[in-house]
Point group: C2
Chain length 198, copies 2
């Protein structure tokens, strides 16, 4: 059985993929916005993990809707949830098993229980969160056993996650002052640089 994992190149989505690998043929998918080449980090991490990877470009309308939410709420939460939900909908067109790297303590992005039920029933898919039952401490221990990863400042080294794409688009349109008001400062992310114990 094939499963597609929503992949940012960081340790969480990488560990989710590694946990699924003995039971599924794992494929990785990264979403990007048209104007910005934000999938580089994910492509490189997928190569390191030795897993097939593809980049999917969000439609312009989805980006516009997310930016509107961002400006209306002054907070990235709803926009990030919207992008996450849309990404899973897109993946459900081509895969029956969908997964991501959201973990026990995560709050955003996160599908609601109703959203999960709706996605699974409407699209006849299985949505799996391999890390939903793992705490951060356990995930860090396991991730360190199976890969080397580095922790980077997202402003200096962009990740391939939704937040980076949104920031770049918003900055282009509204300048850095608004970015500083809407997004938390010093956002950090991880990037897989080597796989261990294959």
């Amino acid at each position: 059985m094939k499963v597609v994992v929503l992949f940012s190149g960081g340790k969480d989505s990488a560990l989710a993929s590694i946990l699924l690998e003995p039971f599924f043929d794992v494929e990785l998918a990264t979403f990007a916005f048209g104007g910005h080449d934000t999938d580089g980090a994910a492509k490189e991490a997928a190569r390191v993990l030795n897993l097939p990877h593809r980049t999917i470009i969000f439609e312009d309308e989805v980006l516009e809707e997310a930016l509107e939410m961002l400006l209306a709420t002054g907070h990235p939460r709803d926009a990030l949830n919207r992008l996450h939900r849309h990404a899973l909908e897109v993946l459900s067109q081509d895969w029956e098993y969908l997964a991501d790297g959201t973990k026990r303590e995560d709050r955003v992005p996160m599908m609601t229980p109703d959203g999960v039920r709706s996605l699974e029933d409407r699209r006849k898919v299985h949505y799996i969160r391999p890390l939903a039952g793992y705490g951060s401490k356990t995930i860090n221990t396991l991730a360190s056993s199976y890969m080397d990863f580095e922790t980077l400042n997202s402003e200096v080294h962009p990740a391939s996650d939704f937040e980076v794409g949104l920031r770049l688009e918003l900055e282009e349109r509204c300048g850095p002052d608004l970015i500083a008001r809407v997004f938390p400062a010093n956002h950090m992310h991880t990037r897989v640089i080597r796989r261990k114990r294959i």
Copy 2:
């Protein structure tokens, strides 16, 4: 690394064990009450899965406390949660990694987020719910791929789960009429009978 899985002999805790097996040395533990030999189903399922198994007997005080809760509330929920929490506490004395077969849709037994944090911080353990991010449909598909299991009526073929132990104790003390009022009728459970694709 060793992990102990709270094991009833059914498909959920068996699948949780199978999902952990590529990453941990899995050991199974079943809890029973002193007076009743309820661990037979779990022992046999552990043999079929080819995983090491032990039975741990609940202390009398724990049983008494659970029975009091059952009689006070007229519902098994709090008593089952109490037994589950106590079982994890007991396991945390000998193992650093603890797991169970609770899944996405389960409501009872279930640790609260605060209970999980307290257990992990106080006892310096990692609590893992391998099936927390899997829905019932996905679990049934995966379980059917990796094992044959049968669905049985718990009154005719007792399972090795907390509910069966509590029912037997309560029936012994208060008779079958109370059982019918406190526990849902026609409780069914699954039992692993063969492992596939080892």
